[in-house]
Amino acid sequence: METALQIILSVFRQAWAALVIFIVSVGVLAMLAQILRTIGASAIGAHIWVYESIGSIASVLILVLIAFVGIPPIVKAISAAVPGDPGCGPISELGMFASGLIAAIAGVRMLLAFARTIGGAAIGGTAQVAQALAEVVEAVFGMLLAGVVIPLIGLFIGVCH
């Protein structure tokens, strides 16, 4: 189980690295595009566009910083919140496997949600930070289920003593 978990986690780590590169690329291109918009707006005297462009640059920068600085501690915290050795026998192994997998999926989903948000902010669309936060809650609930509730069920049905 441990080997299988490591293989799956390595794939998720690669996805994480790819998403990080994608976020950097999109963020930098978004800032450059907003500078272009600012120059165009200032050429035709559109002040509101200038304000919007500067706001978009700031928001993209803040979103990238939140994604890079905020998400890893959240994932580490929800990983650390799961008991180290839940239940007994196969339940313990399955619980550890599921919680490790859910932590990886949660991390990648959160980063993906922020990537979508940054992409949306880059083209002046709506932000989806709320969805990213909802995915955090989903992840915490899933890890709670895998790490705590399954061993409790094992105890309840008499598998673990």
């Binding site: 794939v11 950097v24 991390g107």
Partner: protein, 119 residues
């Protein structure tokens, strides 16, 4: 007999999975996502070039428009119009400096902040 067969199958799966693990990820790059990331990086570089070209064109046109506006203002004695035109030229130059100097520095900053996978 059935149990030993299951154990053998499990061992074979582990061996194959271990070899697949080294095939998928060598610890240096994005692994199976490498080809996708190469394409995204290539596309991003092309887009960067396009945007830089567009910024140069837009800045040049904006400065020409401002010079025209300032000249027109001087012609009709509109000192405020000329002042606004001069300030616009300075603003465009500042924006170009931000685009070509500050954004690459910000990109380097963001690259240095790239987090490793926390799981």
């Amino acid at each position: 007999m059935g149990f030993s067969l299951a154990a053998n199958i499990y061992q074979q799966v582990l061996v194959r999975a271990s070899s697949m693990n080294s095939l998928l990820y060598d610890g240096t790059g994005p692994g199976i996502f490498g080809p996708i990331m190469d394409r995204i990086t290539l596309l991003a570089r092309d887009l960067w070039g396009v945007l830089v070209g567009l910024i140069i064109i837009a800045a040049t046109l904006a400065m020409i428009i401002s010079v025209l506006r300032g000249t027109g203002g001087m012609l009709v004695g509109g000192s405020k119009e000329t002042t606004v035109a001069v300030v616009s030229i300075v603003g465009v130059v500042l924006l170009v400096v931000v685009a070509f100097v500050a954004i690459p520095q910000l990109a380097n900053l963001l690259k240095s902040l790239q987090p490793a996978a926390p799981f």
